[in-house]
Amino acid sequence: MKTKATRLQRLLLYPYGLWAILFIVLPLAFIAYYAFTDSSFAFTTENITRFFTATSSVTAGDGSVSEVRTYLLIFARSLKLAVISTLVCLLLGYPVAYIISRCDSRLQSSLITVIMIPMWMNFLIRTYAWMTILQDTGILNSAVTALGLRPWHIIGTEGAVVIGMVYDYLPYMILPIYSVLAKLDVKLIEAARDLGCSGASVLRRVIWPLSLPGVLSGVTMVLIPSVSTFYISQKLGSGKFFLIGDAIEGQYVANNLHFAAAIAFIMMIALLTAMALLRALADRKATGRS
C-alpha cells in the first residue's frame, strides 16, 4: 500500500522532470556551446581567457593610474553590492516577517498581500519613481532642506543602487521567511520560555535555527537578481556603476553573443558553487542543532 502510493506520487515528478531537461538543462548547453566557440562556431577558449586576462587602466581619485583585470573587478564589484543589498534585505525583512507571523491570521494575509502590492507595478516604473525621490532636487532633499539640514547627495552613489535593489527585492526576502515562521509551532517557543529562556535567546536558539530554510530561500531570491541586475545600476547609479549584468548586456548589444555567453557561463559556475556551499553550510547547521 505504502510503496504503491509512494510510486504514484513519484510519478508526479515526471512532467516537471521532462520540462526541466528541455527548458532548463538544454538551454545551458547552448550557453556553453556559445561560450566555447567563436563567431564561426569553431571551438575556442579565447572567450573564457579574455574574461580572466583582459585589463584596463583605472585612474584613482589621487590621479595614480593602475592596471586592473577588467571583468574580475566588475564581478567583484557586483558581488559586493549584491551582498550588501542581501544583508540589508535580511536585516530589514526578518523582523517584518517575524512581526507579521505573530499577528492574528486574517491580519497576516492582509499584510503579506500589502507587501506584494508594489511588485504589481512594473519595476521599471518603480525605479523611475526612486529617481524622482533621490535626486538632488528631489522629494527627499526638498524635505531635508526644509528641515534646515544640508542636502544629501544620493543618486549616482553606491547607496542609491543599494536602495534600489533592496526596494525591489525586499518582498522576496520577507515572503519565504514569513512562510516558515508562520508554520512555527508556538508551543516550542512557549516551552523554551517556560524553561527560562529570555526573549533574545528564544530568538537565537529556537526561532532563528528553525527559520533557516526560509532565510536560505530569501537570500537566494535576493542575491541572484541583485548580482545580475543592469537596469537599477544604470538608472539609480547614473551609469557610474558598471556591473556584470551591464557587461553582459553591453556585449549582447554589441552583437558579441559568444563573449556574453562566456561571461554568463563563468558567472553561472561561480554562483552555482556559492549557492551549493551556502546550502551545505545551512544543512549542517540545521542538523547540528536538532
Binding site: 500500500m1 502510493a5 509512494t6 506520487q9 513519484r10 508526479l12 515528478l13 512532467p15 516537471y16 522532470g17 520540462w19 526541466a20 527548458f23 532548463i24 538543462v25 538544454l26 538551454p27 545551458l28 547552448f30 550557453i31 530589514l92 523582523p95 492582509s110 503579506i112 500589502v114 502590492i117 511588485m119 504589481w120 507595478m121 512594473n122 519595476f123 521599471l124 516604473i125 519613481a129 529617481m131 524622482t132 525621490i133 522629494i139 526596494y167 525586499l170 522576496y172 519565504p176 512562510s179 516558515v180 508554520k183 530554510p213 526560509g214 530561500s217 537566494t220 541572484i224 537578481p225 545580475s228 543592469f230 553582459i248 548586456e249 549582447y252 555567453a261 558567472m267 552555482l272 551549493a276
Partner: protein, 263 residues
Amino acid sequence: MKTASKIYMTLAFVFLFAPIVIMLIFSFNEAKSLSVFSGFSLKWYRELFRDRETLKSVKNTLVLAASASGISTLMGTAAAVGMMKLRSRRMRKAVDTVTNIPMVNPDIITGISLMLMFVFVGRIFGSATSLSFATMLIAHITFCLPYVILQVIPKLEQMDPSLSEAARDLGCTPLRAFFLVELPEILPGILTGAIMAFTLSLDDFVISYFTAGNGFQTLPIRIYGMTKKTVTPKMYALATLIFFAILFLLILSNVAERKGEEK
C-alpha cells in the same frame, strides 16, 4: 502588536510605498515630466484610455502572467510532492540542483539561452518566426517553477508524514489522502507560490524581452522601448490605476469575508 513593532512596520510600509505615492502625485502632472510638477491635470488618465497599444500590452501582460502562474503552480506543486518521495539521495540532490538553476542563473542568461534554443528549433522546422506567445509562455513557466517548488517544499518538510500515513491506514486512497490531509497543510505554500509566480511574471522584463515574438508585446517591453524618448506620466497613471484596482479588490474581499463570518 507592540508599539515598537507597530512603528517598525509603519516605517517598512513607508519605504515600500514611497515610490507609489510619487507615481500617484506625478500621474496628475500637467506637464510631460516625471520630475517637475507644474499643475494638476487629469489629462494623462484620458491619454491612457486612448492609447490602444498600451492597453493591449497591459492585457497581454495579464494574460501571460495568469497562464504562466497557473501552469507553473500545477506542475510545480506536483513536482514538489514527487520530489519528497524520491528515495535516492543522489537523485534528490540532482533534482534540487536543476530546480535551483533558473534562480541561480541571471535572467538575462535564461532569456538569451532560451531564445537561442527556440531559434535553433525554429530553423530545423523551417518556420519564419521561431518566437511566439508560446515561447514566451514557456520561458515564463520555466522561471516561475522553482519559486513555486521552493514555496511548497518547506511546507512538505514541516508536515508530519505520519498524518497521511494514518489517513491511508484508515482506508483512504492515496489521492484522497493527498487532497484531505496533505493539500490543506501545504495550501498556504501553494498559494504563496502561485502569487509569487504571478508577480514575477508580471514584473519580468528581461526574459520576456528575449523570448517575445511578433505582435505580443508586454508592458515592460513597451516601457523599455521608451528609453530614447522618455517615459511619460501616462505610465504613472497606469500604475496608479492598477494600485487602486488591487486596493479596491482587497477591501471588497475583506468586507465579503466579514459578512461571511457574521452569517
